[in-house]
């Protein structure tokens, strides 16, 4: 809104005391949620935060660099399998395991970034999609990773076994704090990346890769870097996701998941941090909780059952939520091309200029 006078002002974490205040309130709220929110929501929040990490990372690639990926479930899988595998087979402490796994994911991101140097649009989409499917298939074919049967993750031990320190997180609430801290760090990290030379190069590539090359952005480095960074985020998210779930098989990381990740970013708002966060929250909520068990809802449920009996089938009534989600997605894009971020901006403007 207001003019920035120098670079340091741009990279400041909190632009004004108002922002500082609200950030503090938000953090406070996030850290105290388990005190008043019912327990079963914590699991959902964990999933949401994992998706937030992934969406913020994917947004760096899709929104800020202008590439497309339908293979992020593959990186997600590498993170999940890598972390669980390193911890159970080689007794690597959690903190190292998750970062090693994320770096492996980043390496694969770099590999996927190479064909991206020459491809764009649907061509890149199909290559990344093929990549995701291949990863799922290869993991499923390897018995070390439990094959198609899936694997169970080891206990989430934050300590270092070799030194005899052990701090096992068992409950969802304990995991919530771990994931929350990781999420905050990674989101702030993503914001900082976008404010640096690297982030500006990404944006330059998105706006026009040839122009970017002309002004001295090394396309090879920055395009692959965007893939690697985004895959790194997906890897961390995957590592955490494994512990949220406790058990997973390759099919958990199917193509549909990749598509949903992309939807999160686009519905949330391309190229902004808030967009990734809002999109992940909205889409995950819609998927997991929205209009479920509609037959049990008072009044509405009876009405829907009656409608189903008249014109549809009662056995398929659960599909109603999928229809509603589809329409919500369409509606958001039609009425707010910027996605949830656009809604956020509108609300903010309305608030700031109120009562005019």
């Amino acid at each position: 809104m207001d003019m920035k006078r120098d670079y340091y002002e741009d990279i400041q974490l909190f632009k004004s005391n108002v922002v500082l205040f609200w950030s503090a309130v938000l953090l406070l709220a996030l850290f105290t949620i388990p005190l008043y929110a019912p327990n079963y929501y914590i699991y959902l929040l964990n999933i949401i935060m994992v998706h937030v990490i992934l969406a913020v990372g994917l947004n760096i690639l899709v929104g800020s660099t202008g590439q497309i990926s339908l293979g992020h479930a593959g990186f997600f899988a590498i993170g999940a399998y890598g972390t669980a595998f390193l911890m159970s087979m080689f007794q690597v402490p959690f903190v190292f395991a998750i970062f090693i796994a994320a770096f492996i994911a980043a390496f694969f991101g770099f590999i996927l970034g190479l064909p991206a140097l020459r491809l764009e649009g649907p061509y890149l989409a199909i290559v990344s999609l093929g990549f995701g499917l291949t990863i799922m298939h290869i993991i499923g074919g390897m018995d070390v990773f439990g094959g198609r049967m899936g694997i169970k993750v080891p206990p989430l031990d934050l300590g270092i076994k070799q030194l005899g320190i052990s701090w096992v997180l068992k409950t969802d609430i304990q995991k919530y704090y771990l994931i929350l801290i990781m999420t905050i760090l990674l989101v702030v990290g993503a914001r900082n990346i976008l404010k640096t030379r690297v982030g500006r190069s990404f944006v330059a590539i998105r706006d026009s890769d040839i122009a970017a090359e002309v002004i001295g952005v090394n396309l090879t480095i920055y395009k692959t870097l965007a893939f690697a960074v985004s895959a790194f985020y997906a890897g961390i998210a995957g590592g955490l996701f494994g512990f949220v779930l406790g058990f997973f098989d390759p099919f958990t990381f199917n193509m549909i998941l990749s598509v949903i990740f992309l939807v999160m970013v686009v519905v949330g708002g391309l190229g902004t941090i808030q967009g990734g966060i809002l999109g992940a929250i909205l889409i995950t909520y819609l998927q997991y909780d929205f209009l479920k068990n509609i037959a049990e809802v008072p009044y509405l449920g009876a009405l829907m059952v009656a409608i189903s009996k008249q014109w549809f089938t009662t056995v398929g009534l659960e599909n109603f939520s999928s229809m509603a989600i589809g329409l919500i997605m369409i509606g958001i894009i039609i009425f707010e091309p910027l996605g949830m971020f656009g809604v956020w901006i509108r609300m903010k403007k309305y608030w700031m200029t109120w009562p005019f």
Partner: protein, 291 residues
């Protein structure tokens, strides 16, 4: 190794992929959107045919005609109500709209017809097979696929080459604004593209349904493969797409014969390799961007 038989089967399923990929390409050519709802549009049309056949007990040709009309309307309506209102949309935004339409259609079909698999059959006697060359058994289904694909190819060729609407479509595809200035109603062209694409998709969908079963999720996998075939063929040239589909069918079947475990992904690996060498697919000239 039964080379002849694998050739027949690979080409038959490949022609099916190619036919469906044509539907994807027609929309891509006019509106630059990969329509992720394509599979579900075809699924929904096939369900309508199923419904007419099983509930109203009409003969097949009547059900077919009604379904074709329905599928055209479905395509036009989806474009009109879901894509057209979007103002200044990004390509990704449009893709998400088609994904939303996909979820909507899948939910609606699940609600209306339930999830259980349904039987859908074309009026072809499955027991009739021909063996022109020893070791190459051709069944009715494959013959129908080949015949229909060839017909549609010829029709599309004539259409794009010689009719006013076809030329208008090509003009719209090359430069939307210029086409508009030249007096082409680009909206109408879009409606037409979606309608015809939905029609071709519905025919392909019925072929898939009669080979497998009919259920709300049955077109997800064929869509992926058709999309891949379209990309392999170059997304712009329709004959290229058919060849791309055929290639996919052949690769999958020949490779899948020896390594069945890798059959589901081999086509994608080949496509990745091809695209590394030819970034715009096999049959499209690589388009170099001007600054």
């Amino acid at each position: 190794m039964p080379v002849g038989q694998l050739l027949v089967e690979g080409l038959a399923i490949g022609a099916c992929y190619g036919l469906f990929a044509t539907a994807v390409v027609i929309i891509y050519k006019t509106s630059e959107v990969v329509n992720f709802a394509q599979g579900e549009m075809a699924m929904f049309s096939s369900f309508v045919a199923f419904h007419i056949l099983s509930v109203y007990q009409l003969p097949f040709w009547a059900a077919f005609v009604i379904t074709m009309i329905f599928s055209i309307l479905l395509g036009i309506l989806i474009e009109y109500f879901f894509l057209r209102p979007a103002k200044h949309p990004s390509i990704l935004g449009l893709i998400v709209i088609t994904l939303g339409a996909e979820m909507f259609l899948m939910g609606l079909a699940g609600w209306k017809w339930g999830a259980e698999q349904k039987f859908f059959s074309l009026p072809l006697d499955p027991s009739l097979t021909y063996e022109p060359v020893k070791g190459m058994i051709i069944n009715n289904w494959a013959i129908a696929v080949f015949a229909v694909t060839t017909c549609i190819m010829l029709l599309l060729y004539v259409f794009f080459k010689y009719t006013r609407l076809g030329v208008a479509m090509r003009a719209t595809q090359q430069n939307k604004h210029a086409a508009k200035i030249m007096g082409i109603r680009t909206e109408r062209v879009l409606s037409f593209a979606w309608g015809s694409s939905s029609l071709i998709g519905a025919i392909a969908g019925m072929f898939f349904a009669s080979r497998a079963t009919l259920d709300p999720a049955f077109m997800m996998e064929p869509f992926l493969r058709a999309f891949a075939a379209a990309v392999l063929g170059g997304l712009m040239s329709i004959p290229g797409v058919i060849i791309g589909g055929g290639l996919m069918g052949l690769i999958e079947n020949f490779f899948g014969y020896y390594w069945p475990q890798w059959k589901p992904i081999i086509a994608f690996i080949v496509i990745i390799l091809v695209l590394c060498l030819r970034p715009s697919g096999l049959f499209t000239k690589h388009f170099v961007k001007k600054v």
